[in-house]
């Protein structure tokens, strides 16, 4: 019996839990897709899928393209879609003119993705959409469920979320609705980086500092700014995160325009 490992590390526990969630989602919701935004979290998510399904990703991976990502991100997408043997769906977002003009500018720009996603879901009839949000990113995401139903149209009713406990997830859906599945909900930013390091998961190079700045979170190039940093290796990033008190989404303009801007975005279907 001595060869059996008694203690799982904290990363092992998170990994096992995410694998469990991904397998539940795949087994219970069909058709299903995983959102791949090309950022660190969604790369970890694709990696976990390969772990869960033993080297395969048995569902399409969707990139809802705003057309405004950094060039490095498109290079990354084209290379790893091939290398990881992904069944990739790419769909463009509608132009900003089609979006609710009462939203503040950055949130309005981000909302393009909500509409783009809604159209992909309709086109393919997806019942499950796997998204890489985490509870520690933002306060309204902290309230999320692992399996989070979205009404027809993508709206999130945070006032009446289903009960979810003991790792039993609701998979029942009314007509036209779909389920968002959040396998990374329990992870923190630091967990993500430590796991990237342990597993040697490839990343877009923009996360590493150049000329005293790096991107901590990657959105559209016009509404995402780099933060001051000299961290240009995984070790340095991890060390930086252990001491920082700045929030991860500090460089995301849409979070800071108005007190409830992000809540409104999420209620209407944003990730």
């Amino acid at each position: 019996m001595s060869q059996i490992q008694n203690t799982q590390s904290d990363l092992d526990q998170l990994e096992a839990q995410s694998i469990f969630i991904l397998r539940e989602a795949y087994s219970r919701l069909k058709p299903i897709t995983m959102l791949w935004s090309l950022g660190k979290d969604s790369n970890v998510m694709v990696w976990l899928a390969k772990k869960a399904f033993l080297g395969h990703v048995p569902f399409p991976v969707t990139h809802v393209d705003t057309g405004k990502k950094f060039p490095e991100m498109y290079d990354f997408r084209d290379r790893y879609a091939k290398e990881w043997n992904l069944n990739l769906i790419v769909r463009d977002c509608p132009p900003v003119e089609e979006i609710d003009p009462t939203l503040p500018p950055a949130a309005r720009s981000a909302a393009r993705k909500t509409i783009g996603l809604k159209r992909v879901i309709e086109e393919f009839g997806f019942k499950g959409v796997i998204a890489g949000i985490r509870r520690d990113e933002q306060a309204t995401r902290a309230k999320e469920r692992v399996f989070s139903p979205r009404a027809d149209g993508g709206a999130w009713d945070f006032r009446d979320q289903p009960a979810e406990f003991w790792d039993h997830f609701n998979a029942g859906l009314p007509d036209g609705a779909h389920m968002r599945i959040h396998p990374l909900l329990a992870w923190t930013e630091l967990d993500i980086w430590r796991y990237v390091q342990r597993e040697e998961i490839p990343l877009v190079p923009l996360y590493f500092a150049r000329n005293g700045k790096r991107y901590r979170s990657l959105g559209d190039s016009d509404i995402t700014s780099p933060v001051p940093s000299h961290a240009n290796s995984l070790d340095e990033i991890i060390a930086e995160l252990r001491s920082t008190k700045t929030s991860e989404r500090a460089g995301r303009a849409m979070d800071h325009e108005r007190e409830d801007a992000f809540e409104r975005l999420r209620a209407s279907g944003y990730m």
């Binding site: 092992d12 309204t140 006032r159 390091q197 342990r198």
Partner: protein, 643 residues
């Protein structure tokens, strides 16, 4: 902007670091209590005082508080939804991360409003410990009690009480003590003992990180000390294997049975039995991707197995070792909490979801509804929203059932109606075993910190009851004593529970009439069960002539009951007559003597039959020793302490 070359992982991974080395996992704990007793404020204070707030958060908080014209509201930090800020209540459960010098934490803040119970349950179920916050001025209120009961039902045992707003009662130790006494008494009825009761002011920071000078009469732990003192849960690796099947994959040449191990261990070469079909196969491999090959795995791990045989396997089956399979049953008694606005009534059809299996069941009856204030069991014809009840359910298909007192994970279930989770339940047992209807109060068995598995590992064998039945003179007592000597010589913890010895003490108020015989057997079985729980091999030597009373004994003892029929015909027994009893019965001096003027119902399904009329005493003994040694062998995973 210039395009950087893509960096491959090798280039950015340095070899000299220990950041991927295991670090302490985050400890999740819940903060519960009645609305407005100060849960969110306590959390805001904990974050601030441990230096866990992000830069600018305090200023943001101050601004949000100013906008609403109030003083600094710590709770705004968590009550992040607009609606919550405006109403000053917590709608949903929230998770917040912070760190003490000892380890990282996740705080789960559960709302106190009654209508939000489903959110509270969703939060608290993820916790390993809980702080129950009580307003010093208001004392214990309805939701304080309901939340305590939910903690108990969810299986949380590490609980501490925070008496908040101590400043509002002028730091008065007497009033503090009366709140402390009230809640201690209530928790005691639930079988919960608080690890501490801390007087605090969340708003002003008293006794959060350091002891307050305002409460010189309090010498106990601060909130931080208390948190650091909670113990992290360990995966149930020492329990028997339970691997509920999530799915069967066939993406390439491999046929993979996947799932998460809820308890126990599995290794390559193990024989697995799949409940409820009972089909078995050996584990051929444990497959991985981008990791070293595995030859073994334990509770908490998500695994993918290949088998040496192409059995029919589907989601919902449970892989176990053949020595310790779940009970298969058509009915079960559940203790449940009901979350749906539509009440639960007898005759309702509902889905019982246990791990990955889903059973359509009908509600056969409501045994009791629990009154939250008094904990009394009350008769009811329905279970309404937020109610707690014991119900009997029946399934057309066989349910593979574990009891919650043994299996924390697979001994609980959720209730699903129209695709939604509408309740949670712990499985008390099969209808025949969960004999609760007569209990005047809600009895909770105490939680031993020493598990049966740990006792078995220490002793090198499991506890068991070896129940010898047979006519007077059949050789039961002789065999019992010889068996005790043999097992004792082998180092086993063994004891003979002799019928005569019991009758001279515990049972000396009982005679030999049918009713008193039944009571004699019941008491003996109860004592035997306690001995077996303590880890002993208990040998009983009683005539126990009626099949019904032996069945009753079997139900009392449970799975470790072994019925041994010591068989000898009446003529042989009467010829032996070691105590001269047959002669006295024939002479009419003894009434109701089994075999003479009272019947003996021979067992039809005994675990072992020893024919002492046909075989030598030595052969019978050898046979019996072999049987018992085999029956009490530790399960897989219980041998670690002795190996």
């Amino acid at each position: 902007m210039t395009v950087l070359p893509l960096i491959t992982p090798k280039a950015i991974v340095s070899t000299a670091n220990d950041d991927t080395a295991p670090q302490q996992a985050r400890f999740p704990f819940a903060i519960v209590g009645h609305v407005d007793h100060g849960k969110s404020t306590l959390i805001g204070r904990l974050l601030h005082d441990t230096g866990s707030l992000a830069e600018g958060k305090l200023a943001e908080l101050q601004a949000a508080s100013d906008k609403r014209g109030g003083t600094l509201e710590w709770s705004f930090l968590l009550d992040s939804f607009q609606a919550e800020r405006d109403q000053g209540i917590t709608i949903d459960t929230t998770q917040i991360f912070f760190q003490t010098a000892k380890r990282p934490y996740v705080i789960i803040d559960a709302p106190g409003h009654k209508e939000f119970l489903k959110n509270a349950v969703s939060g608290v179920a993820q916790a390993q410990a809980a702080l129950l916050v009580i307003d010093a001025a208001e004392g214990v209120r309805e939701q304080s009690r309901r939340h305590a009961l939910i903690l108990q039902l969810l299986g949380l045992r590490q609980v501490a009480v925070i008496v908040n707003k101590i400043d509002l009662i002028d730091f008065d130790p007497v009033r503090f003590q009366s709140v402390a006494d009230e809640i201690t008494a209530f928790l005691a009825e639930l079988g919960l003992t608080p690890q501490a009761i801390v007087p605090i002011s969340a708003r002003h920071g008293d006794n959060i990180v350091t002891r307050s000078t305002q409460t010189p009469w309090y010498q106990g732990k601060t909130v931080i000390d208390l948190l650091d003192g909670f113990e992290a849960a360990r995966p149930a690796t020492e329990l028997p294997l339970r691997l509920p099947v999530q799915d069967v994959f066939k993406f390439d040449h491999r046929r993979l049975v996947v799932g998460r191990i809820e308890s126990g261990r599995v290794k390559v070469g193990d024989t697995l039995t799949f409940a409820p079909t009972g089909k078995s196969a050996k584990v051929a491999s444990i497959e991985t991707w981008n990791a070293a090959p595995q030859i073994a795995a334990a509770a908490g791990q998500s695994v993918a197995l290949t088998l040496d045989d192409e059995l029919f396997i589907e989601r919902g089956m449970v892989a176990t070792h053949p020595e310790r399979t779940p009970h298969l049953t058509h009915d079960a008694v559940l203790r449940l909490f009901w979350l749906d606005s539509e009440a639960l009534e007898p005759g309702d059809r509902i889905t019982l979801k246990v791990a990955t299996s889903e059973y359509p069941v009908s509600i056969e009856g409501i045994r009791a509804v629990i009154d939250v204030d008094s904990l009394d069991r009350q008769v009811a014809d329905r279970v309404t929203q937020n109610g707690i009840a014991e119900v009997l359910v029946r399934s057309r298909n066989l349910i593979a059932l574990d009891q919650v007192d043994e299996f924390t994970k697979t001994g609980r279930a959720v209730l699903v109606r129209n695709g939604d989770i509408v309740g949670g339940a712990v499985i008390l047992g099969r209808a025949s075993e969960a004999n609760l209807a007569d209990e005047p109060r809600l009895l909770f068995s105490p939680d031993h910190l020493v598990t049966n598995a740990a006792r078995a590992a220490a002793n090198g064998h499991q506890g068991a009851v070896i129940w010898l039945t047979g006519l007077s003179g059949s050789g039961k007592s002789t065999l019992a004593m010889a068996l005790e000597r043999e097992l004792f010589a082998k180092g086993r913890q063994v004891y003979v529970l002799d019928g005569d010895a019991l009758r001279s003490g515990l049972n000396n108020d009982l005679g030999f009439g049918p009713e008193q015989r039944v009571e004699n057997i019941r008491r003996t079985a109860q004592v035997a069960r306690l001995f077996a729980d303590a880890g002993l091999i208990v040998i009983t030597s009683l005539i126990s002539p009626y099949a019904a009373e032996r069945d009753n004994a079997r139900n009392i003892v449970g799975r470790n009951f072994h019925e041994i029929y010591v068989k000898a015909d009446l003529a042989t027994c009467e010829a032996r007559d070691p105590k001269g009893l047959y002669a006295r019965a024939r002479a009419g001096e003894i009434r109701n003597f089994t075999g003479i003027d009272a019947p003996y119902e021979a067992p039809t399904d005994a675990s072992l039959v020893l024919d002492t009329a046909a075989t030598s005493p030595d052969a019978a003994l050898k046979n019996l020793v072999t049987y018992v040694e085999n029956a009490v062998k530790p399960q897989q995973g219980q041998q670690s302490a002795s190996a």
